[in-house]
Symmetry: C2
Subunit: 351 residues, 2 copies
Amino acid sequence: MNGRVQRLRSELERLDVASFLVSNPVNVRYLTGFESSNAFVLVKHEEVVLMTDGRYAEAARGVEGIDVAVVERDFLPGVAGRLAELADAPVAFESDHLTVARHADLLSTGVELVPAAAVLLTLRAVKEPGELGEIRRAARIVDDVLGRLVAESVTGKSEADVAWWIAQAIHEEGADDVSFEPIVASGPNAARPHHHPGKRRIGAGETVVVDLGAKVNGYCSDCTRTFATGALPEDLRGAYAVCQAAQAAALAEVRTGADLRGLDAIARMEIEASGNDVLHGLGHGVGLEVHELPVLRQTAAGALAAGNVVTVEPGVYLAGRGGVRIEDLVIVTAEGQEVLSGFTKDLTSLN
Amino acid sequence: MNGRVQRLRSELERLDVASFLVSNPVNVRYLTGFESSNAFVLVKHEEVVLMTDGRYAEAARGVEGIDVAVVERDFLPGVAGRLAELADAPVAFESDHLTVARHADLLSTGVELVPAAAVLLTLRAVKEPGELGEIRRAARIVDDVLGRLVAESVTGKSEADVAWWIAQAIHEEGADDVSFEPIVASGPNAARPHHHPGKRRIGAGETVVVDLGAKVNGYCSDCTRTFATGALPEDLRGAYAVCQAAQAAALAEVRTGADLRGLDAIARMEIEASGNDVLHGLGHGVGLEVHELPVLRQTAAGALAAGNVVTVEPGVYLAGRGGVRIEDLVIVTAEGQEVLSGFTKDLTSLN
């Protein structure tokens, strides 16, 4: 924990500020271990102050190495009112989290504020060994759930029922929670990358996209497999082959130093060469949130670093017909890569 | 749906703007029925434009009565790039949702922007009959789950196990989802209003705060009951009596026109008169989100209106010992009130 505060402190110098106000609850948790929906951390060179409201005050006082200031639940009379007194100016704030209205509240105190985006997100993108251990556990749970799913019969069941079966299995396998509501998209719905599972009953001869993740001690996993319910029509068989090849080609290039946009381009070119459109980027970082840095897409800049954990998940979508997405979770290591998704990527049938 | 867009259009005149850019996904859903993590609605006098990225494009085209513009997933090259071309200026934006960084992106287009906070939240605070129907269904599910809970044995089980049992029961009773992760707080943990259920095993002679909610067609319910595991020590019995009296006194005054701060004060005075501290406000609105307007607390201004749906949930917390919270969900009607929480508020024992 302390190492994280130290890393943020070295950012203070780069940003030329004396304090950093952290407002994103996920970043508050990352820095202090403290979880709540309403807490702010002020990191100064010599001190760390956690500001939260009365509902969380008792829990906050249990956090080691930080001072606690109890504030009103409303932002303005609470945090803003204390900021001038607690902070050394100028104060960096999370401009990619703080709303315009709250920013106006803080400005009204007269404290000099400096916008800083993606500072904590960038620190979080490189995982510590302990974090990798949690993500490995969360990924193993998904493998176990997929292994159980193939023994289930899904044809005739609704997407929502199968999604709930998956959520239960994730808990039964020891996760604290799902990392997001499982996606089960069948038939024409499989052509929608972020379909919300509904009442549609899964039929025969369809693709079923299953996108799921577990949460262990706050850390997420993320994995997608696409199943067939019996023999598929030729266009969907073709889509599967294209997606599988694109995924393998991009995955093979995941290593420290690999260009983010270049990885996206590898899968993109495979898919476009087959005459299909690309509806989304190749992947994203995973950690305390299921979507983190780095992002692997056309508009990205930069390269993979050792300690990044990313998804590789191209999709091929045939509007009105069906779709295929295959997603692995991968740790970028100094030596190369460690793929955390162990379930087969060969086309598998569900009953 | 159209009535909602019309109501927002009349706000355009009040704000003296020509367009309103809606960025909060819950408000996007409220206006258009469209659900996604990345969509923006531009409401103009003659037109409604939904902007979303490729992952949601096919689903968006199924929404009636709106135009769809597909944008890049990144906000700046996408929405901002189209805004100058699509919007009639000046454009109101949700200053209580849009981040400082995204606001800067929009400003860079040269479009004149006007901050507008709580506009949609204020519209959402008064529910339509159809919305009340969903909330009633969500509340009934909670009653059924509490009825089943009293037949279960909880002593010796972990808080997390009981919380997961509740989440499963909420699904089994027909909810689409929980409206928040159930809170199960036992023994000293019951003194923490927003305790996260953990490994602690529930003992005998303790208070167990159970705070739960269901989601039906997007609409939430919210209810808290505090149980005893066998005979309670005198201080906790006393806390229960104080909380029950405070809750009944405040609830009795819920009606159209009741002062928000005044309702909070009724419970607050009862609790403080008993020598206890008040750690949180009396309650909050409930709807598409579990925390909405109006807020019933010391710093609130205004009065209840017919169609509001609010919680009444005072708590009495004894640090290190235990706690009691009792929460009802209530519809404010033209005639008075309709209490949606049917489970008994008399002290009930769990095995």
